[in-house]
Amino acid sequence: MINRVRKGVSPVVATVIIITVTLVVGFAVFAFVNSEAAVASGAFGQSTASYVNCLRERFVITNVAFNYPSSGQVRVWFYNNGAINTQIVEIYIGNSTTSMTKISSFSSTPSTLEVGKSCYVTFTYTINSGITYYIKAVGEFGNVVFYYQKA
């Protein structure tokens, strides 16, 4: 009698163990795949967002005034002709395209260059009359605009 009862335990235990192992391994595999997919999706989404923002960001330098508003200052006007608000994050100036100095401190008014609006950036730089200056501006989403003008 005892033997007969014991006879059915082993398959049940085995089945439970097999199912448990299967579930654990299955969920582990699923979690791994899901996580990898999420990471890949996130990276791709990020890349897409950057690319789309870069495509939608467009701005131009409309004018540069040397020694304005006061001597030793330079004012650069920007216009956003793109489809997304942006900011000017970096400005370089120099007397050739290969020798440009990054402006470490500048102020933008207003700080955000809204779509269809203008803003200007003012910074301090020593200007020599008669020299052609090259200006490079970098937008928040990576677009670069060049401009040059003789002082």
């Binding site: 999706s41 791709f44 789309v52 409309t62 004018n63 002709n81 793109g82 269809g116 203008s118």
Partner: protein, 333 residues
């Protein structure tokens, strides 16, 4: 026991099928979600590319010319835009720059952008005060195109202009610069509204006035031209068969919006390519002196036109020179 075996045999494989189905569903869901996500992102990129291309295409269609329009009455200079392209353009910003010094005069962001249909010409903005000198006007459109133009407009290249002008003479009269001045009521030598003056194509009767005009030396041999005191401007009214004349004078800018006529005349020299504003005020050759200097006022009946002749006289380097410029008219009111 047999029943158990039969039941066991019937259920065999069901769990595997269920498990496979669940596993497939899980993997399929993950894969499908990833696939849809990728597709959605590609669609976003595609739409952004199309939008960018469209913006650049629209921008490339814009064509316009920029210049200046001077209001002699108010001494103001306005930006003048001519839309020569196939699409409407919207002006959003204007820059006025002193082209002689490079200094920015004014930046104007239009509170209400102005749209110009194809073929339309208009002045835009609130303008700047203008007396003389070169001004660069820059115009920004809503699509991001920038156009610029000079005021006064650049002349033809020297050789071409000289060849054109050769048959007419070495001096050229700049039409739109023809202006008149009135005197300060308390000072018979002082000109008001100097140097802008007012457009002389309509001039006032019964008022002492002085004429001013910009003259350019376009001599094809690039010689200096000196105007002596015999240079004069005279006008003839065909209905009255009468005439008035004004001899050339020197005027000194007082720097306060007025100018003072000098009592004696010093010859004016104009280098090749140079534009000079010259003044005609005196009834007498080379003389504008005395407590009552020889000023001129016209007393014809109102509402009649007169022909304008400028008789330029002097030297072309060392050679004697004379030229008559009969190109303008005045309506008197």
């Amino acid at each position: 026991m047999r029943r158990y075996k039969e039941w066991n045999r019937r259920k065999k494989g069901v769990a595997g099928i269920i498990a496979a189905t669940i596993l497939f569903a899980m993997i399929f869901t993950t894969g499908a979600a990833y696939f849809m996500f990728v597709q959605y992102n590609y669609q976003l990129q595609h739409e952004a590319s199309i939008e960018r291309n469209q913006m650049e295409f629209d921008q490339s269609l814009e064509q316009f010319l920029v210049g200046g329009s001077e209001d002699f009455g108010s001494a103001m200079l306005y930006a003048l835009v001519n839309n020569t392209g196939p699409v409407a353009i919207t002006i959003v910003q204007i820059f006025y720059i002193n082209a002689d010094t490079g200094a920015l005069i004014k930046e104007e962001t239009l509170a209400s952008p102005i749209t110009l249909n194809p073929g339309e010409i208009t002045t835009v903005g609130s303008g700047i005060s203008y007396g003389s000198g070169n001004r660069l006007i820059k115009i920004l459109t809503a699509r991001g195109n920038i156009g610029s133009g000079m005021y006064p407009p650049p002349e033809f290249p020297g050789i071409t202009e000289s060849e054109i002008a050769q048959g007419l003479g070495m001096l050229r009269f700049i039409f739109l610069s023809f202006r008149y001045y009135t005197y300060d009521p308390t000072n018979p030598y002082k000109l008001l509204n100097y140097p802008a003056g007012k457009s002389a194509f309509n001039s006032p009767l019964n008022t002492y006035i002085v004429f001013g005009v910009e003259i350019k030396n376009v001599d094809h041999d690039k010689r200096n031209i000196t105007l002596d005191s015999h240079t004069m401007l005279w006008q003839f009214n065909p209905q009255q068969s009468s005439r008035y004349w004004w001899y050339i004078v020197n005027v000194v800018d007082n720097g306060d919006g007025t100018g003072t006529i000098q009592t004696t005349y010093t010859p004016i020299s104009i280098a090749y390519g140079e534009v000079k504003l010259v003044f005609f005020a005196s009834d007498k050759d080379g003389d504008f002196s005395g407590p009552n200097p020889p000023r001129v006022k016209v007393t014809w009946p109102s509402g009649q036109p007169s022909a304008v002749f400028m008789l330029m006289h002097g030297t072309l380097d060392t050679l004697p020179y004379g030229q008559n410029m009969p190109y303008s008219s005045v309506y008197w009111t």
